[in-house]
Point group: C2
Chain length 458, copies 2
């Protein structure tokens, strides 16, 4: 992929120098818009306007959609009004909206002033919907049919109006703007009788989403039902647009990335890694680091509180990291599993008892095996091999008991916290490793010193 892109870039650079513009146009015309965009993003900005003008009109618009916001802005600023209008005319409304959302106010004003009235109306309508709602990712360009149409009339209508619809393959049957059914081009083409009316062959139990439905829910419905497109209706069940599978795919990818970022203890960002400045990265990472560092004060306090105990049994200190890490790892295993299941809609709050019970049983299995292994390790490695006299059998016992108990506590917390977060309306992903670790650390120490003071220190 990338290597291929690189070579094309160098070729273009060379051809530009030699002013072999028709050759460049021929090369670009054989390429896919997404590939052209990534080539352009690799070239130095000054070359963009010239190269872009070499593209055939339609390909130019398709490429424009695929480019990075900063490159798009550069081009728009360079466009004459007529050039801007040409590009806009070729865009689908939802793509136009995506671009508008990324542009500074003055560029937006210029785009809206050049867009034709219908598109301007649609753009403004879509912009009104809350971010991450179905309304905000839908397009208003779909094929609508009347129930009374015959198959032949329907196909004719598609052939007439289809050219600037984002998808023609699912057509929506509406009666004074209310969605009453859908029919696919496949149904129309495979219909036995061309005089059959649409309402005879249409699918009547239509699954639709509301303009305010969360985009994550929309994406889930796509992967559940394998739709090409999903109709979007308003509160009066009037059809206002469609979301197409490609937008759903982008949402799935973005939501997964967002979850991972949050799980990794970062505030999510919509810039790709290489395009985020050092300060962007800093902004997204420092808050959690600060919060977690400060909250680690508790673990410090606990240790200080048991300083005397530690002084009496120096051997205990050496096992603190292992106990804390094992606890943290056990907890994050549970939290990651639960968080992912929640966001895939596989479990919900009502499953809490089942989940907790599952985790408890798993924790017992893990705890016992770890404790056993740990005991063997301590006796063999620390005591025999390294001949550390302080590590008595009793110390090993304390460590292993703590280990088992910590794993249990960690796994329960790891599964409960995300589900509670979801219940009270937070993003469950916040309750992932970094957060769990901090809590489990403190608890594991308390357990450790608790057991120790019973078995060792009196």
């Amino acid at each position: 992929m990338a290597d291929h892109t690189v070579t094309v870039e160098s070729t273009l650079e060379a051809l530009l120098v030699e002013k072999k513009y028709s050759t460049i146009r021929d090369i670009l015309s054989t390429m896919n818009p997404a590939d052209i965009a990534s080539v352009f993003d690799g070239l130095e900005e000054s070359r963009l306007p010239l190269l872009f003008r070499l593209l055939p009109k339609e390909l130019a618009a398709e490429t424009f959609v695929e480019m990075e916001p900063d490159a798009q802005e550069l081009l728009i600023r360079g466009f004459s009004d007529s050039e801007l209008r040409e590009v806009l005319d070729e865009l689908y409304v939802d793509d136009a909206v995506d671009i508008v959302e990324e542009m500074p106010a003055n560029v937006v004003r210029r785009i809206l002033s050049q867009a034709d009235p219908d598109m301007r109306k649609d753009i403004n309508e879509i912009l009104r919907y809350p971010e991450n709602s179905a309304g905000s990712i839908m397009t208003t360009e779909y094929v609508s049919l009347r129930p009374g149409m015959t198959v032949e009339e329907a196909i004719l209508r598609i052939r007439r109006t289809g050219v600037d619809k984002e998808t023609i393959y699912t057509c929506y049957v509406t009666k004074n703007r209310t969605l009453i059914g859908l029919v696919s081009v496949k149904d129309l083409l495979l219909a036995q009788d061309d005089d059959e009316t649409v309402d005879k062959i249409m699918e009547t139990n239509v699954i639709s989403v509301h303009t305010h439905t969360d985009q994550e829910e929309v994406a889930r419905m796509f992967s559940k039902y394998n739709f090409l497109a999903l109709p979007v209706v308003d509160t009066e069940n009037r059809m206002v647009g469609i979301v197409t599978f490609d937008d759903a795919m982008d949402v799935m990818e973005d939501e997964a990335t967002e979850d991972m970022e949050i799980m990794g203890g970062m505030t999510p960002s919509d810039k790709t890694y290489l395009r985020s400045s050092t300060f962007d990265l800093f902004k997204h990472r420092i808050p959690w680091l600060m919060l977690l560092m400060v909250s680690a004060t508790f673990t410090g306090l606990i240790i200080t509180h048991f300083e005397s105990a530690l002084a009496a049994q120096v051997a205990l200190t050496a096992f603190i990291p292992m106990l804390m890490d094992t606890g943290g790892n056990s907890g994050s295993q549970s939290s990651v599993t639960v968080i992912r299941s929640l966001s895939l809609g596989e479990i919900e709050f009502s499953d809490l008892p089942r989940v907790v019970w599952k985790e408890i049983r798993t924790a017992v299995l893990c705890g016992i095996s770890l404790a056993a292994a740990c005991f063997a390790k301590i006796m063999l490695v620390d005591r025999l091999m390294l001949g550390n006299e302080d590590v008595t059998c009793l110390v090993a016992l304390v460590v292993c008991a703590t280990m088992a108990l910590t794993v249990l506590v960690a796994k329960v917390i790891g599964c409960v916290l995300p589900m509670l977060a979801k219940k009270v309306g937070f993003d469950p992903a916040v309750m992932a490793s970094p957060f769990i670790t901090t809590i489990v650390d403190a608890l594991s120490l308390l357990i450790y010193f608790g057991i120790a003071s019973v078995l060792l220190l009196n």
Copy 2:
């Protein structure tokens, strides 16, 4: 969603008791296969065969595909040969393969014996491809056109053969089985002249994948190019099948889940959480816990080695958890970001220098801010508020210096290890938080005691 499902279940239960079968059939007929399947999965198994037989033939097959493997097996075992054949006849080959892959040998033999010869041949062919390859998720049912056909002939062919193709919307133009172009139904319907031949309107620079291409790469291409379907060719560039967008969506979802599981320190599982037994969970979680616990021995050794130092400066112990956690968190922030960017194809090994340089600059910003905050916190909280005399200004200095240095080391390791893993052919996700934490723990302690022994202990 779920609530809705629940109510339907209870209704069905009631109607079953009253033997109101036609009513049940009416209810089910209005539902989407995916919803029927989730209702069925909620009912007790004994009711399945009866309910399933109530479904209209085609809906029955579509529902069967959506059900969980164990339910499918139960049904197949209950089917008569003719019933089994009826279901199989309605299945698409790739769905049939998915089912076959889940079934025990004797059930598989029965399925293959009942499938019609063509399907049996196709199933066996697809089964031969390596797991997670394009070949293993493709279907062999696509519409192929000859270059010489007119638009009218092409549409006619689609209407004749389309009924049992998984998608008719993208048709592939082949010349003695070699893929030479593609044409969409949209192109055909919107073509000005019905006597135009296919090779005149077809798209000739076709993007295709090889039967052995990894499914993750296939999914990436879908989200990049927004295809409905992607043609799969063999080593001789002969067309053997297509992958459709819905399969790509499933792959995207599975791959994201797999990455998260691995990042969470688990071996990935393809069972959903609620369907995995306690032992399944145990099997997938214990290996990492064991490995990480044992590797935590090093941290233990380091502490033991500096025991005397700690005894001399008890205050130092209290800051160990905070230092280790902050290091771990900084590291996992970088690793998560890099791992995700790698699997989205946003960065690759050649970007290593840029990435490292980015992380270093970010680490310096984070490190300095954390160190400053930490110093203030120690002096205010630990020294003034808690009046801990051992916490001298010098101790605070040691802690903060360690903090800054640890963050730097952690972030560099966090970005380098995943990229190296990818380079040598491991899954980068393995190099996530749990693994990084263990390494960073040891290093942070070494840094801590290193600085301490210079500034404090002599």
